[in-house]
């Protein structure tokens, strides 16, 4: 019970860090928006709770034809959108066609980031940098079968459909409330219809009741939800509390029943309270030290290997993650298919590092510039300065003379890292968007990457082939081989997979944490302490 309110055993109050941007999932790319849209909308496929295993959602099954480009989705019957219209194959095709036909400001990366990441381009690209579209057509066969044709083979296609960005929305409601209307004023895109703010319409277990910006998003139970056993609560209230400490205090006072983004230093505070508990989100991220391979002396593989032996990763993971991380040995988390157990591993070995530097003719001491960000805390890197100082000390012990550069995270640091101008080494990381190796090592190393400056034709060829392979067993082998190659070439050194924490009152039951951060509330209920 909150200090002033009456007990409401059928309502969950949950704290996020910010308001959603808006509630049209095709047009957002931030976690706070997806936190809400995940409850309102559903996708064709989903993850089994708490895992990255694909399971049916609005599609009960799917298959790919021999050509590797034609997908047939069998759809769940008896499903209705919140506006009462039926979910069927025509609705599926209407959604695919909507994304494909986006034009004008809707083609901006800030509006359709995920569509562009997966589908490359639109029907009529208005920007030369956009690629050839992956999508070709969609055909409704009867009421409950949709056949989607792609222009080329693409392995990540089905796994990416888990993303809330590709959730199914009511074509009728989108038309009625102007979902495809938008404008650009003084350099900013904004939807001008009311759909994305007041009338989001999906098939999900909860419907929008009221959104008061800065205060709360109130969702109410969808009485016509296809799974009669769900949702278990009458209402979900999501409130934005940007300050970490304020979120925890609100949990302590009972003003919220659960909260995301519990920072490692505050985990002990929650744990020490007998009414509260800590849940863990499966590790789905990687923190790494980028090596600028094109910049001498890093163009010598022996120096890069000396860096890998010189970074005391175990010490950093043990010291600065409050027991909530494991040492990373490759650029993707162990839970993802394609992870290879037999990559080259580099344990801290200063003697070996010095020997390699001598062989390479760089010192010791070998002078290098190492960057770290200020004013930021990421799930994979809660305290960048602490990580940096430990790494600097271990590198100096290993024969390097480390010159320090620090910069504010936004915008200077990220910009320099992405442009490949952030020293010889720098610290950054990645949290996955969908459960596919392509979202990790494909994003980092496929094509020319100014960040890594890695030119490796064999790796590039392998990643291209893996992206187009639709046979899952073959794809997994390709990504395993890619991981072996990457850790031999060392375009960087991965060092941590962290396990983000969430705080809850003990009476909150049935909560499953999703690796990608978009948790479903339909299984949640409130019990006793």
């Amino acid at each position: 019970m909150s200090p002033s309110g009456a007990a409401a055993p059928d309502t969950l109050i949950y704290a996020g860090a910010a308001d959603p941007t808006y509630l049209d999932p095709a047009l957002v790319s931030d976690g706070e928006s997806f936190r809400v849209t995940k409850q309102i909308y559903e996708s064709l496929v989903d993850f089994a709770p708490g895992t990255t295993r694909l399971v049916p959602a609005l599609a009960t099954s799917w298959s790919v034809a021999r050509d590797g480009r034609t997908y047939t989705f069998k759809l769940r019957g008896g499903v209705f959108f919140h506006d009462g219209t039926a979910f069927n194959a025509a609705a599926v095709c209407a959604n695919f066609n909507r994304w494909f036909n986006f034009s004008g400001p809707f083609q901006d990366a800030s509006a359709t980031y995920y569509y562009q990441a997966i589908f490359s381009g639109f029907k009529r690209n208005e920007n030369a940098k956009l690629g050839a579209p992956l999508y070709r057509s969609c055909r409704a066969v009867g009421g409950l079968k949709a056949v989607v044709k792609l222009t080329r083979k693409n392995g990540p296609f089905v796994p990416s459909l888990v993303l809330s960005a590709f959730a199914m929305q009511s074509p009728t409601a989108m038309r009625k409330w102007g979902a495809n209307q938008g404008t650009v004023r003084n350099g900013v895109f904004a939807p001008t219809g009311t759909y994305a703010f007041q009338h989001p319409t999906g098939t999900g277990p909860y419907m929008l009741e009221k959104w008061t910006v800065g205060e709360s998003v109130i969702l109410k139970k969808n009485p016509r939800y296809w799974n009669k056993k769900q949702p278990r609560l009458a209402r979900i209230i999501i409130r934005p509390i940007s300050d970490n400490t304020a979120r925890v205090q609100a949990l302590q006072t009972g003003e919220v029943f659960g909260m995301d983004l519990l920072s490692p230093p505050l985990v002990a505070t929650v744990r020490s309270n007998s009414r509260l508990k800590v849940l863990s989100r499966p590790a789905f991220n990687v923190a790494y030290v980028t090596i600028q391979s094109a910049k001498p002396p890093m163009n010598d593989i022996r120096v890069r290997r000396a860096v890998a032996y010189g970074l005391n990763r175990q010490l950093v993971v043990n010291s600065f993650y409050a027991g909530r991380a494991q040492v990373a040995h490759q650029f993707m988390p162990p839970s993802l298919p394609g992870y290879a157990k037999d990559v080259v591993k580099y344990s801290f070995n200063p003697t070996r590092a010095r020997q390699l530097l001598r062989e390479a003719g760089c010192g010791p001491p070998c002078k290098i510039e190492f960057w770290y960000p200020t004013g930021v805390s990421r799930p994979y890197m809660p305290d960048p300065k602490a990580n940096y100082e430990a790494f600097k000390a271990s590198l100096e012990q290993s024969g390097f003379d480390v010159q320090t550069t620090s910069m504010p995270w936004r915008p200077d640091y990220v910009k320099n890292v992405n442009q490949g101008t952030a020293g010889h080494l720098n610290m950054i990381g990645w949290t996955g968007d969908y459960a596919d190796a392509d979202n990790f090592i494909g994003t980092f190393f496929q094509g020319d990457s100014p960040q890594f400056q890695e030119k490796n034709a064999a790796l590039d060829k392998l990643l291209n082939a893996a992206e187009q392979e639709v046979n899952q067993a073959k794809r997994i082998r390709m990504y395993q081989q890619a991981n072996r190659l990457i850790m031999q070439n060392l375009p960087g050194v991965p060092y941590a997979h962290s396990t983000p924490a969430l705080g809850f009152q003990k009476r909150v039951k049935g909560y499953h944490t999703s690796p990608i951060g978009t948790d479903l509330f339909k299984t949640v209920f409130l019990g006793g302490q």
Binding site: P3, V213, E215, I237, P240, Q249, P411, K415
Partner: protein, 337 residues
């Protein structure tokens, strides 16, 4: 007086124009752009270049200003937030009432405590009350607001559970009506007394935290002013004429001593209205302050330009009201235009 008010209102035009120019160039002098801020790790050089090209951020800055003023003046709105994609005017309508309530509550707290404290300190000059008030004022001014806020929350919300720690209202009150967005006023208008009590409880801790600095300043200024005034000839004359000390204090000392205090109250109110960034953040209070803080982090040009321009207007208007109040309190002051 009327001519004075009209003249001051006309002066608003060049002031707002000047502020708009300064703001426009200041926000663009901040390193980075909305593209880098909004896309984070995903902000590749290609995406940033495409964003800048599409939205005219590569144009000469004077041309960007002309475009901005053109749409702002012609359409009479302040643009669209780069982060939330909402109309800036809509966000102000939503958030400004929260800030006004908080600022007024903080000012009520600091005035109702600060003036008596300063007055008593002056009357007991050099005594323990005076020393105590000096000590309290020093603490009020020197303790950072966020430290005080966290401390207050810890004691009164977390440990004692007397008061809420975040927000404007208990979210489990589903039936509260907000026709004006001034929650206190709304609760009174709808005669919803339980909601009124809840809203007031949500105001107490942030108002005390935010009011701590004005409280200290008002107490010190009142003390100094009372000390000055009570040695004036007209006070001595009043006493010599046999007026009771209470009447002398009320009619002659306090009324004259309050003149400089009025100015301070006006300035402080303007400052409080301009968004209590730290207080609102710590208490997750959905006002202008937390909104502008996010806008700075996001390099949200339209929000920074529109929001601060609006607050500049409020600041100028509040000071105009203070000047008029000055004349009301002290009949010797007449504005001639």
């Amino acid at each position: 007086m009327l001519r004075f008010v009209v003249r001051r209102l006309l002066l608003l035009i060049p002031i707002l124009f000047g502020v708009s120019v300064l703001l426009f160039f200041w926000v663009r002098a901040l390193p980075g752009s909305p593209a880098e801020s909004l896309l984070g790790e995903r902000a590749t050089p290609e995406l940033i270049a495409a964003y800048k090209e599409r939205y005219g951020l590569n144009e000469p800055i004077w041309r960007q200003y002309v475009t901005y003023m053109d749409t702002t003046v012609a359409d009479r709105d302040l643009g669209i937030s780069a982060a939330t994609h909402r109309q800036v005017t809509d966000e102000i309508r939503q958030r400004f009432p929260a800030t006004v309530e908080l600022a007024l509550a903080a000012m009520l707290f600091s005035v109702s405590l600060g003036i008596p404290l300063g007055f008593i300190a002056a009357k007991r000059y050099g005594g323990p009350i005076d020393q105590g008030s000096l000590f309290l004022s020093l603490i009020g001014i020197s303790v950072p607001i966020f430290v005080l806020a966290i401390l207050l929350k810890y004691v009164f919300a977390v440990r004692l559970g007397w008061l809420p720690s975040v927000g404007r209202i208990d979210l489990l009150i589903f039936d509260a009506k907000h026709p004006t967005n001034f929650y206190v006023l709304d609760a009174i208008l709808t005669r919803d007394w339980s909601t009124l009590w809840d809203v007031l409880k949500h105001l107490i801790l942030p108002a005390v935290a935010l009011g701590s600095i004005p409280l200290a300043i008002i107490a010190r200024i009142t003390r100094a002013s009372v000390l000055d005034v009570q040695n004036e000839d007209y006070v001595r004359t009043a006493r010599a004429k046999g007026m009771s000390p209470g009447v002398v204090d009320r009619r002659h000392v306090l009324r004259n001593a309050l003149l400089p205090v009025t100015t301070v109250i006006g300035l402080q109110t303007g400052l409080l209205l301009s968004g209590a960034i730290l207080t609102e953040t710590v208490f997750a209070y959905p006002g202008m302050g937390s909104w502008l803080r996010d806008a700075i982090f996001n390099r949200d040009y339209p929000v920074l330009q529109g929001g601060i321009l609006f607050l500049a207007l409020v600041f100028v208007l509040v000071n105009l009201v203070v000047d008029v109040a000055y004349a009301v309190i002290n009949p010797r002051i007449r504005y001639s235009g």
